[in-house]
Amino acid sequence: MRKLAWAALGAVVAVALVIGVTDRSPATDEERAHRIGRTVMCPACSGETVTDSQAPVAVNIRRQISQRISAGESDDEIRDALATAYGERVILTPPKSGVAGLVWVLPVAALVAAAAGLVLAFRRWSHW
């Protein structure tokens, strides 16, 4: 019975992780542009993404995102082009490589360490 409970818990965690990390591609170019725009800060605004802002620079960047999508560029290529011109500070999703890439790895490492810690703790408690 206990093994079954552990297996069920493991299955739930695995399914949740798969759903969480799976890249669900938007249906249309417009939705994709909207999604990319929400990950780029408006360089002339305070706390607004280019999707939310009506500043001229945000309007320009939205147009460029749409044009680049039409040209067949990937999300990362579009964000890289904007980072080249405006700097990494406008990109809300951290890069996947370099030191900043640690923000993607550390939470997973912390989760694994926490799970291992829990398993060890449960085993120790079960022996008492």
Partner: protein, 188 residues
């Protein structure tokens, strides 16, 4: 006895604190009031040290087709502007002076790129205020986005090699541009 001393000391402490705060506020107001709000300044940009983004477009003021690659061998000031922007209006005379000062020697040139503005307004602006350098339209913000322009006026100084050496925010001044040109020519 001690209470009497404390009651005499308290008003004096409060007085000194009030004087210190007053002096700090006066200094802040003086600094803010005397600072030129539209002064040009060099700022950091990811483009500095890189090859200037390509620009090849027809001009809107009968200056023919403008190609950035044709400008190699001389300094180029790429000025992003709009006629509705007050600092852009204020810097225009300095741009006219800068362009005129270098036309003869041919060592430096200016190109203006329209930022979120109507072509007809830009034509009228140049007809009224002068300036015969190429003016490039940027309908979809392609150039502004490639150069990382956040708000106008913004200008970029491109070396004869084609590398971007400086980004200037705010309205430019003739003396400032000359000084920067001399500084970059001297390799400083």
């Amino acid at each position: 006895m001690n209470e009497a001393v404390a009651s005499r000391a308290r008003p004096r402490t409060a007085l000194w604190v009030a004087i210190a705060i007053g002096v700090a506020i006066a200094l802040l107001v003086t600094v803010l009031a005397t600072r030129d709000p539209a002064s040009s300044r060099l700022v950091r940009s990811p483009l500095v040290g890189r090859t200037a983004p390509d620009m090849d477009a027809p001009t809107i003021n009968d200056a023919g087709r403008f190609s950035l690659s044709d400008q190699r061998g001389k300094w180029l000031l790429v000025n992003f502007f709009a006629t509705w922007c007050v600092p852009c209006q204020q810097e225009h005379d300095d741009l006219v002076r800068f362009a005129a000062a270098h036309t003869g020697a041919g060592d430096a040139a200016v190109v203006s790129v329209v930022f979120s503005d109507e072509t007809s307004d830009v034509r009228k602006f140049f007809a009224r205020r002068g300036g015969d350098w190429p003016v490039v339209a940027d309908e979809n913000g392609t150039y502004a986005t490639a150069w990382g322009v956040a708000r106008v006026p913004e200008s970029y100084l491109v070396a004869p090699s084609g590398l971007v050496v400086g980004k200037i925010t705010g309205g430019v001044k003739f003396a400032f541009l000359q000084a920067q040109l001399a500084r970059f020519e001297a390799g400083r």
